[in-house]
Amino acid sequence: MRVSLFATCLGDQFYADACADAVRLLRHVGVEVDVPDAQTCCGQPAYNAGLRDEALRMVKHTLDAFEGSEYVVLPSGSCAGMMRCFYPELAHDDERAASLAERTYELSQFLVNVAGVEALGSGLGGKRVAYHHSCHALRELGVRDEPIELLAKCGAEVVPWVADEECCGFGGLFSAKLPEVSAAMADRKLDTLPVVDFVTSTDGGCLMQLSGRAEKRRTGPPFRHLASALWEGVRG
């Protein structure tokens, strides 16, 4: 089984260590990993801003970059959702779009549903963890149980969080266009957060928003990308 990792623009620059941990995880479960060099951005920023032409150019670029990939795995539910849900419609005249969409997975979704991971390790034993559902992982990809299952397999106690399925307020450009509302949304998440060792999520965007807001408020637990949390679970 061969996976092409799509680090995503945010992952490459801001969650590089988590992307490297994703490579380690995939190799650990017996998957061969490659990283196509032409990859850059999935096009979601342009798409969400209403720049359809620019979004389509990024779709074409990404289709070229991952031509011939068996599976594409992303450490991001949002970018994976963009590819799975919107590529086929945006590039309806390019038959590669629907095919790539079907072969694209968010990391935890791939580990559980394709790689069939049974056990990882016990490195998170005794850790209390809050899991934030990225909206696009949850609602576009239907990824709800997979990350929690994997965390539990590593020994973590995933604690209930009343706002775990509510949006963190990131929303890409939304966070900068309407910063006050966006921050109030993050506050709602942080204000309801139980006492935990760390907060984790499938998406760097959400983590950047929550950790950036927590730091500004000078309070809050550590925030870690799911790939890094799971790799710690393996490594111990």
Binding site: T40, F170, A176
Partner: protein, 464 residues
């Protein structure tokens, strides 16, 4: 209090968050309750199947609107009601004004109706010297406070119990610690005199069954029943999108709407109105007028994507679940319809330029899609309006140029990574606030922390 226009959304939202945090608490608490009740009520039925059905019926109506409108008019007329057509708000108000004049109306009682808010009925009637009394408890509170509704179903949702206790204490002398029931009793006492004195009752209409010319009204307080049956004249103002084909369709819609709105199996009162009282009936108005209102609806219907928003049954479920709406309530949206549904209706009904930035007042989280009883694809329509704004050249210059430059760079992996490396080494924490986009981020959050070494470089050097 007048609403500030949608263009003031950001400033109004920020002001609400900073200066009146009680609004956020009141709205969050009330919508939490709505959401819990809706989830329970959806769980009792095969809600996916019901919602598919409701979507299909509404889509059918909207694609055959001309036929059903004519049928509804014929049936209502045959029932003895008088049907009027209003293309614009001022047409509707003029028709209402004529009825008021013809009957020498001095006092009117109003059932809760968002359409009458949209049209500005109260201000118009007061301008004509007519006394107007809102009879829904929430609307009554807002009328006393001189505020517009902030939620489709719970108009005073942004107000706490303490606010109402204080208001009623000042107004009626009720104790400051009165229970909600005692406040409702005080309001009922005051309203009863208004009901008895009114010679006109004004309502909206939740649904209009074309087959029989039946207007259906859902409520929990009984004030709609009284407003539409006690005064000698009843005027129902109904949006043209409120049609359903058959009387039996009401059965499904009345139940689904109540479940979506408040989590009830059905409203405490359902009124089905077909016309004035008949010769052998004791109760009921002598005249019933139905004003069918367009006011931007056919314009919205003509849009090949956004037309689906016209399926809306005004349950408010998308407001309750929306994490954006929940921070501020409805007033910052600057229009009668707030929240996600307001943000997609406004560009089609008011005009795109007038409605910006409402289509951007969403993180596109999609929570609204999970709850909408008629399956309106709200995030898709939000993106659609953003695309229309780009086409019309209404996007802020920096954003437009920035995203185009970003796309051009992202087509050149080498250049893209070089730009990324450069940005990562800028002293963001020091200078970031002065930059466009990043400045908005840093106003409320710490600067993003770049990784020490990019992933692509880690990959090239080998990952152990």
């Amino acid at each position: 209090m007048k609403l500030r226009p949608p263009g003031e959304y950001r400033a109004e939202a920020a002001r609400t968050i900073r200066e009146t945090p009680g609004i956020r608490d009141a709205v969050t608490n009330a919508t939490d309750t709505f959401n819990a009740h809706r989830a329970h009520a959806y769980g009792e039925i095969d809600s996916d199947r019901w919602r598919d059905w409701a979507r299909d019926v509404k889509t059918h109506v909207l694609t055959h609107l001309d036929e059903y409108l004519v049928q509804a008019e014929e049936q209502l007329t045959a029932n003895g009601a008088k049907v009027h057509w209003a293309e614009t708000a001022s047409d509707a108000l003029a028709i209402l004004g004529d009825i008021v004049q013809e009957h020498g109306i001095e006092r009117t009682v109003k059932a809760k109706s968002m359409l009458t808010e949209e049209l500005g009925v109260n201000e118009h009637l007061e301008g004509l010297g007519v006394h107007v009394r809102e009879t829904d408890l929430g609307e009554y509170i807002l009328q006393l406070l001189d505020e517009p509704p902030s939620h489709i179903v719970g108009p005073s949702i942004h107000r706490s119990l303490e606010d109402s206790q204080r208001l009623f204490h000042e107004r009626f002398g009720t104790p400051l610690d009165s229970e909600p029931d005692a406040l409702a009793a005080a309001a009922r006492e005051a309203l009863r005199a208004d009901f008895l004195a009114a010679d006109l009752g004004i309502s909206g209409g939740n649904f209009l069954a074309a087959e029989t010319g039946t207007i259906a009204l859902i409520e929990n307080e009984g004030n709609i029943r009284l407003s539409t049956s006690l005064p000698r004249v009843h005027v129902a103002m109904v949006g043209i999108e409120k049609l359903v084909p058959r009387l039996e369709d009401l059965s499904g819609f009345l139940q689904l709407t109540a479940r979506a709105a408040t989590g009830q199996p059905i409203g405490c009162f359902v009124s089905l109105i077909q016309g004035p009282k008949r010769d052998d009936e004791v109760d009921g108005p002598e005249e019933v007028h139905v004003i069918l209102v367009d006011n931007g609806r056919t314009k919205l219907l003509a849009d090949d994507t956004a037309w689906e928003a016209l399926r809306c049954v005004r349950c408010g479920a998308c407001l309750n679940i929306c994490p954006v709406y929940r921070q501020t309530g409805g007033h910052p949206y600057g229009w009668t319809y707030s929240g996600p549904i307001g943000a997609i209706l406004a560009p089609g009904m008011l005009g795109l330029e007038e409605s910006l930035p409402l289509p951007h007042a969403s993180s596109l989280c999609g929570a609204c899609v999970d709850v909408c009883p008629v399956r309106i694809p709200i995030p898709e329509i939000l993106v659609h309006w953003r695309e229309k704004a780009v086409e019309a050249g209404l996007t802020p210059f920096v954003e437009d140029i920035g995203l185009k430059a970003y796309t051009a760079a992202a087509e050149q992996p080498m250049a893209f990574r070089a730009a990324g490396a450069m940005l990562r080494h800028l002293p963001l924490e020091l200078g970031g606030r002065a930059l466009p986009i990043l400045g908005g981020w840093m106003q409320e959050r710490s600067a993003p922390k770049p990784s020490k070494k990019s992933f692509m470089n880690q990959w090239k050097d080998g990952i152990e």
